[in-house]
């Protein structure tokens, strides 16, 4: 069965510091991996995805994520956090084997402190 873990419910970081939001997954076969962000009173928005190719993918608002197959991880990163990055972040995986579909993690709340 597919699963996604986001081991931290909450991440606090000071503005200007680098941030990391962790995600690990379990699927059969190769995965498609996604990060979405949910701002207060707004719908989920796509940030970035890994499909194939370069393990480091770049996305919206200066975010990037690194696919690590051996560690089955897809951590979200940003070199310099902004207060406006404060939101709820979801990692999602889709296995490519038959019968697999999208599974979202429980979410990590990021707070960037001024």
């Amino acid at each position: 069965a597919q699963s996604v873990a986001q081991p931290e419910d909450q991440v606090n970081v000071a503005e200007g510091n680098p941030l990391t939001v962790k995600c690990t997954y379990s699927v059969s076969g190769n995965p498609y991996l996604f990060w979405y962000v949910q701002y207060p009173n707004r719908g989920l928005q796509f940030l970035l995805k890994y499909i194939t190719g370069d393990n480091l993918v770049k996305g919206s608002y200066g975010f990037e994520a690194e696919f690590n197959k051996s560690q089955t991880s897809f951590h979200l990163k940003k070199p310099s956090a902004l207060v406006s990055d404060s939101a709820l972040y979801f990692c999602a995986v889709r296995g490519l084997n038959y019968g697999q579909n999208f599974v979202f993690g429980p979410g990590t709340r990021l707070s960037v402190l001024p």
Binding site: Y32, L44, I51, F90, N101, F102, G107
Partner: protein, 116 residues
Amino acid sequence: EAGVAQSPRYKIIEKRQSVAFWCNPISGHATLYWYQQILGQGPKLLIQFQNNGVVDDSQLPKDRFSAERLKGVDSTLKIQPAKLEDSAVYLCASSLGGTGGLYEQYFGPGTRLTVT
């Protein structure tokens, strides 16, 4: 480009009543998803459509939930009868292309359902 539209935005019903949610995806998006997001959890996929056909409804509680996408555009999700544990936000999302999940999803604002 208009986004994914959902209505109503909020709904309060009593248990054992029925309720329906409507979704209009982004024009040209062949794939449509319905998710259930319980407070404090990530979205859980209920059903995926490709045009007007069901691709995956393995997690849809079919004894009480039903969904359709008759003309391959708009979709409705119905709950009958509702239970207390159905209280959640129901999200609709759409994406380009085929059933493989290659493309990112665009989410609507959701319908917040409260069952009392």
